[in-house]
Symmetry: C2
């Protein structure tokens, strides 16, 4: 039990302690952990310059032993009531703080690891043929995204402009099919060496924590540009991540065996320990929950993703972000993108105000949330990720 | 004329002055410019801490005005003989120095902008159908590569392991079709703002300089993995760049009008000024020149690439690298990759030692070079990029 007065049912309790970067009047950005409605200012209480930095990268680069020691020290500070006089002055009311992007993103990789999502997309985009491409059950398919446009929760998302093919004509203008993708992202702390693949058993030695990801996608741009090199401008305008990074250790009680796989994965992809997570996502559009994608069923688990990403000798670096790809479940209200929820616009969503949505409209606000069982038998949450759609600015070509 | 004794016919003369990062016994990595057989140690002669850094990024971030002033100061130091007593002590014999990766790569984007290359690949991979995909003449197609595995010239290239489909069976092992791609890369110095596309007319405000790029590619891995999200592990094990970054201004005499384009590009891709370059590349395999790809014919010029990359509001950052894609000409001995030179192995290359090559063998050394007309009527060179193929280390799965 913490000596801090945390709200009943908080999802940022003592068993969570996510890290972020915050600032307040008179102080530059620095590291904090969320506890209830407060942020613990780490630099003064832990007396280490790494906590006074404006990004988690330096802390994350120190490796798992330091991550665990740091977490234990923070738990001690917040549970041992004799620490209170020293710690209390450094608890910041979260409502008075500004949150920032928690880490500098090195490489950003986006997987495509939900079977239900891949199957839905196949059925929508290639009707009448086998929805899963031949490689899908053999490897966690992925692509590199743009790390320079990964933005923190709360950043406005300007509708992108770009080329699309409309009635056989190539035109340039605002995307008409702006979509979301609800994903879970894994943040690399400790780097690996080039030439040394990271086995599935070493997942926790490298992964520092977990964020929620909204991989905004312009479906019309994507359809026209993606052959043969994959999505590019359809995704690169913005990818939102939560401001809080939940440490991997906080998710211990949420760990599950991964879903069974057929065919059995090749040896380098064989799982060593359970790295599926019992996370339930939630997509809110303009105040209405439109979906609750279950992360527990992800076909390719993140330990397999990391092993695959490095199987060719590629190294990972501190700050690398790899995301699950859209998380979708079997049911309609478990789908993680609008293209699936509305079946490419065939079945628009009806919102309580009577309006319909096939894709996002200007002014729409999308918030992703995720909860998981916590070590104390309750629930903890990942950081929310929210974004508001702003009108396109295409200039004279629009 | 410089007062330094430069070798006759040097391609690193006073009209070139490429920037790099070098170290020597007793000194850490810092910035230098190449002149003849020497490297000018910039920190002591220019008296600014930015030159004592181990990467070009901070200098590059200062913008075009500073780049031009710095270049003018260096030219002055190396041409005004009265400077000699002060400068001479800081000229380092290049043979005593170690060269390093010249800048920290932010995002790495690889285009696909050579018409001849795209057509060759289409004919090889999709025989009997239209070789160019429908989008190709409408936009410079591209994908994001892995920035964390961009390595400097001279780095050994371990043959990657990965999945491929052989006789209908999925297997994991060393790539059997390791290839090169001869490319020219553009290095972003001054960043742009998210939401503000960079018009073709602003190319020189953002691009600091030019490198040679070898985008090593495992064709067998690529064929199996690339649907539908594009190349991933087939490329991400290593991308080599030259140690020297040639300033854009050094290439003024090499600038040409871009090749005519049909259909006319959309307005946001219309060229404002000539940004094609009269560069001739050279591919040397184990001591034999096997190709001389002409860069001057590139279909999509780099100003168009930058405008396209940012048309959706994506920003560029200091250290972003965008490469042309494989440069190929009309003729067989102008092709920029082995898959084209050997027509996917059908027509192996015969080397002077009597051996044949369809793709790279362990122990092979590939060196790319490029020359261009210089301001003084001679030739200047980009930095070479070389790499030696090391045997795969696939572990127990190999």
């Amino acid at each position: 039990m913490t000596w801090i007065d945390v709200p009943a049912g908080t999802r940022f309790g003592i068993d969570n302690l996510p890290y972020g970067v915050f600032s307040r009047a008179g102080h530059g950005p620095r590291l904090g952990v969320a506890i209830g409605d407060h942020i613990l200012d780490l630099a003064p209480v832990l007396d280490d310059g790494v906590f006074a930095q404006p990004a988690l990268n330096a802390l994350m680069s120190r490796g798992r032993r330091v991550w665990r020691e740091t977490r234990a020290r923070i738990v001690d500070l917040l549970t041992d009531a004799t620490r209170r006089p020293r710690v209390q002055p450094h608890l910041v009311d979260a409502s008075t703080a500004t949150l920032h992007r928690p880490f500098v993103v090195s490489d950003y990789v986006d997987f495509y690891s939900s079977l239900e999502h891949a199957r839905n997309l196949g059925e929508i985009l290639r009707p009448g043929s086998e929805p899963l491409l031949p490689n899908w059950r053999h490897m966690p398919v992925a692509y590199h995204g743009r790390s320079g446009t990964v933005v923190p929760s709360g950043t406005g998302i300007t509708r992108p402009c770009g080329q699309s093919l409309v009635d056989g004509q190539v035109s340039f203008g605002p995307s008409r099919r702006l979509d979301i993708e609800a994903e879970v992202g894994f943040v690399v702390g400790a780097p690996s060496q080039r030439g040394e693949p990271v086995p599935t058993s070493a997942f926790a030695d490298h992964v520092f924590g977990v964020v929620l990801v909204n991989d905004w996608s312009a479906r019309d741009l994507q359809a026209w540009e993606y052959q043969p090199l994959g999505p590019f401008l359809a995704k690169s305008f913005a990818t939102s991540i939560s401001n809080w990074v939940v440490p991997l250790d906080a998710l211990d009680a949420a760990r599950l065996d991964g879903r069974s796989q057929d065919p059995a994965p090749l040896p380098y992809l064989a799982r060593a320990t359970p790295w599926a997570f019992d996370l339930t996502l939630e997509i809110e559009l303009d105040g209405t929950i439109i979906s609750r994608p279950p992360f527990r069923n992800l076909y390719w688990t993140p330990d397999q993703q990391l092993a695959h990403m490095t199987a060719n000798g590629a190294c990972v670096r501190t700050g690398d972000l790899f995301a699950s790809g859209t998380v979708s479940g079997e049911l309609r209200d478990e789908r993680g993108s609008l293209i699936e929820l509305t079946w490419n616009g065939r079945d628009p969503l009806r919102l309580p105000d009577g309006t319909e949505r096939s894709f996002l409209e200007d002014g729409d606000t999308v918030t992703l949330r995720a909860t998981a069982p916590s070590a104390t038998g309750g629930q903890l949450a990942l950081g929310d990720v929210t974004g508001n759609v702003l009108p396109a600015r295409c200039g004279s070509d629009g």
